[in-house]
């Protein structure tokens, strides 16, 4: 060690930094989650236009199942990649799990204040969009575009033609797929 030079030290540190950067780049990039939620969103919103009772049942069950399946997909993807990070997994689960609490709160407000019809759907879409966009800011940038689509779409429901919910659902589903295919989960430089 007495003969260790500054150059050797710098090379070793550069080596370690490159290994860390490489690990950061090996992030979950599968489209499985995007396809799952694109299917849920697309189906659920379409039902709002064509079969409202079925839509109520769908939105009561599908998000719960989707959440559980997403958790498993994410966990299996980590195993495939050879890296386990329990902390980010629980952060994601808590973030998205909060949607269930929010949904109950919105339904409670709607029931006690007499809100009906499309307004409830718009509120749910608006809040979902905000939660999604915030996830895009703090967790995985691939959620930003779908979040924006939901927020803007929730306000524009009255202007989306004969089948507004189907249109919003399709736009959101497409944004999920596009983000999953063409965007990286996060900017490595921004997080270093």
């Amino acid at each position: 060690m007495d003969t260790m030079s500054v150059q050797q030290l710098k090379e070793d540190i550069t080596f370690v930094r490159q290994a860390v950067d490489q690990k950061d780049k090996q992030q979950y990039t599968s489209v499985a989650l995007a396809v799952l939620w694109a299917a849920i969103v697309g189906t659920g919103y379409t039902l709002l236009d064509f079969n409202l009772p079925a839509a109520m049942w769908f939105w009561g069950i599908a998000p719960v199942l989707g959440f559980l399946v997403s958790f498993r997909i994410g966990w299996k993807a980590e195993l495939e990649a050879g890296v386990e990070n329990s902390c980010p997994g629980w952060v994601h689960a808590t973030h998205w799990g909060s949607m269930f609490v929010i949904a109950v709160a919105i339904m409670s407000i709607a029931y006690t204040s007499g809100l009906q019809g499309p307004v409830i759907g718009q509120l749910m879409s608006l809040v979902s969009g905000i939660v999604c966009f915030l996830a895009g800011l703090h967790l995985d940038r691939r959620f930003r575009l779908p979040g924006i689509a939901l927020v803007l779409g929730s306000a524009a429901v009255g202007f989306l033609g004969a089948f507004p919910w189907t249109t919003l659902g399709v736009i959101t589903a497409v944004s999920l797929i596009i983000s999953a295919i063409w965007m990286r989960p996060r900017d490595v430089e921004a997080n270093s």
């Binding site: 007495d2 030290l9 860390v20 490489q22 690990k23 386990e84």
Partner: protein, 108 residues
């Protein structure tokens, strides 16, 4: 930045962990510090070592108590998962602090 005295440099050198002087072992500990667990094959690819060398490095770290190994079967194949221990985390921090002091003293 002022250069350090020979005494302080000698002190900083003495603070360096002998086990972590090898870049691959240092790299393994740094990678494990940032994750819950990492599989053998991922560690090997990230620090660009062969199976044999990687195994030898990890055995040394395990013998020193710096890492734990959890051997599982996944899809009927044995997979070894490595985790940094508290002792390893402490040793890594001390080593990195000593490295930083050494580099600052060298004016690099």
């Amino acid at each position: 930045m002022s250069k350090q005295t020979p005494e302080s440099r000698s002190n900083n050198l003495a603070q360096l962990d002998k086990l972590l002087e090898h870049r691959s072992r240092l790299g393994v500990c740094v990678l494990l510090a940032d994750s819950e667990r990492i599989a053998f094959s991922s560690l090997k690819n990230l620090v660009k070592e062969t199976d044999g060398n990687m195994g030898a490095h990890l055995r040394k770290l395990e013998d020193a108590g710096y890492v734990n190994v959890d051997k599982r079967f996944e899809k009927r194949k044995p997979v070894s998962w490595y985790q940094l221990t508290g002792k390893g985390r402490t040793a890594l921090k001390a080593h990195l602090d000593a490295l930083q002091a050494l580099i600052e003293g060298l004016g690099g």
